[in-house]
């Protein structure tokens, strides 16, 4: 069946089986491999994408559910060659090791600080609790998100001034 949606700002129309999982659609049909498969049972969040701005698990979405909606993947974070604040944060704070959970963590982090620009450590930990990282022990992921929040805040101040 035909499904039309927007991904990272570009409209796509694809012909897929209805049972196609969104993560497979993105990885196989669209050839964007930054969205990963870690568990198959919606426990790990390696497949996280933003659906109309909210983070969801793309292994637990069927392709036709995308009809008319907007998807953001890790490939859509950097704009015009400039890293998003969340990407800068993960780099500066060593928020990634093997990199497998990183796309999902960054997307959740980005959505989180957009909804709550000054999150506490508890709010960050709660916010990323749908995503598993096996390497970092989360300490530096928390710092990375704080780093991005601080950078955004600084930019907003600069923007106002």
């Amino acid at each position: 069946m035909k499904v039309t949606f927007e991904i990272n700002g570009a409209e796509k129309s694809v012909d897929v089986e209805a049972r196609t999982l969104v993560v497979d659609l993105i990885r196989t049909k669209l050839g964007m491999t930054g969205t990963h498969i870690g568990c198959d049972t919606s426990n790990c969040g390696a497949c996280t994408v933003l659906l109309d701005g909210r983070p969801v698990k793309s292994c637990t979405l069927l392709a036709p559910m995308l009809e008319g909606r907007k998807v953001t993947t890790v490939e859509g974070l950097a704009q015009g060659g400039k890293l998003d604040a969340i990407q800068e944060g993960f780099h500066a704070e060593h928020g990634l090791q093997c990199g497998f959970c990183t796309p999902g963590m960054m997307l959740v982090g980005k959505a989180l600080i957009e909804a709550n620009p000054h999150p506490t450590e508890d709010e960050i930990r709660w916010g990323i609790s749908g995503n598993i990282c096996r390497c970092t022990g989360y300490m530096n992921i928390v710092k990375a998100i704080q780093h991005a929040a601080a950078a955004n805040a600084a930019e907003n101040v600069a923007g106002v001034a």
């Binding site: 089986e17 049972r19 198959d40 919606s42 659906l51 983070p55 069927l62 749908g130 995503n131």
Partner: protein, 292 residues
């Protein structure tokens, strides 16, 4: 891991949904947020012939207060209940339960009605709805029914909903008394199903006595359990530590847990007791602090 093949349709109007359901009967499955159904499809525990996606039907989402009820559209996401802070003081138990459902990403997709209809014995909303005395509005091609939560849950993944019906709304009566409640959940980690959870909702009368009490138990039986003996013991009484302890004991007795990897039956029963005891203290404190 992915589902076996199926047909898929996403009607834009409820009438179409109902007509498809009456046409396909047990071969059809309603898809709302999909957070319970899609994992079942992927594990191939479920293999419907056709999925009827209600995602494009208008009017199934939102929380509003009307005619002495809080009315929650069946397709309202868990996340939206979580942020419905206007329910604080009226339906504390909903606000406490919502953030404990699965994990933040699942809550962005999963729906209240979907979770209730899925009727996992460890699903959180069942116990909450029993505690607050909710009613479920269900529709089919042949008309509308309003089913009380009490009696709705019949067994694991089994409810009073017919295969040609779809839930459209949850109605929760909210009276004029001071109310308080809470939801306590023991889970092994975020995203896990409850090992044990308890929903408590009390309403205090003008005299400070307990005018109404609702207690729902989660994951300690074949379906969500309403602890009716415990509720009855509370109603009409002035709150006291002894009363609460006795009600908690009765609630523990109402549990019918089975031993599994999460613990023994004795353990689960005792945690149900402990949680109801703690929950009642919190609920009554909150109600006493509330303004009617």
């Amino acid at each position: 891991m992915f589902p076996a093949a199926f047909d898929y349709t996403a009607p834009g109007a409820l009438d179409e949904v109902l007509s498809l359901l009456s046409q396909h009967g047990d071969d059809a499955k309603v898809l709302a947020g999909g957070q319970s159904l899609i994992p079942l499809l992927k594990l191939r525990f479920a293999a419907p012939v056709i999925l009827v996606d209600i995602g494009r039907v208008d009017g199934l989402e939102g929380i509003r207060r009307e005619n002495g009820h809080v009315r929650i559209g069946a397709r309202t996401r868990h996340r939206d209940v979580e942020s419905a802070t206007e329910l604080r003081g009226t339906l504390d138990v909903l606000l406490d339960a919502a953030p404990l459902i699965s994990d933040p990403l699942i809550r962005n997709m999963g729906t209240v009605g979907g979770s209730i209809c899925h009727a996992d014995p460890a699903g959180d909303w069942g116990a909450v709805m029993l505690a607050v005395g909710a009613e479920f509005v269900v529709k089919s091609a042949s008309g509308e029914r309003v089913l009380p939560a009490a009696g709705f849950f019949e067994g694991p993944f089994t409810t009073g909903l017919r295969s040609d019906e779809v839930m459209t709304e949850i109605r929760i009566p909210v009276g004029s008394g001071r109310s308080g409640g809470t939801y306590l959940k023991l889970e092994r980690k975020v995203g896990d199903f409850a090992s044990v959870a308890t929903a408590v909702h009390v309403v205090l009368g003008g005299d400070g006595r307990i005018a109404a009490a609702g207690i729902g138990l989660c994951a300690v039986g074949a379906h969500s359990i309403k602890a009716t003996a415990a509720e009855a013991a509370l109603v009409g009484q002035a709150p006291s530590d002894e009363l609460i302890a006795e009600a908690a004991r009765l609630a523990g007795d109402a549990a019918e847990p089975k031993a599994d990897i999460r613990g023994s039956a004795e353990y689960k029963r005792d945690v149900a007791r402990v949680f109801v005891q703690r929950g009642l203290h919190t609920a009554i404190n909150r109600a006493q602090g509330a303004t009617a």
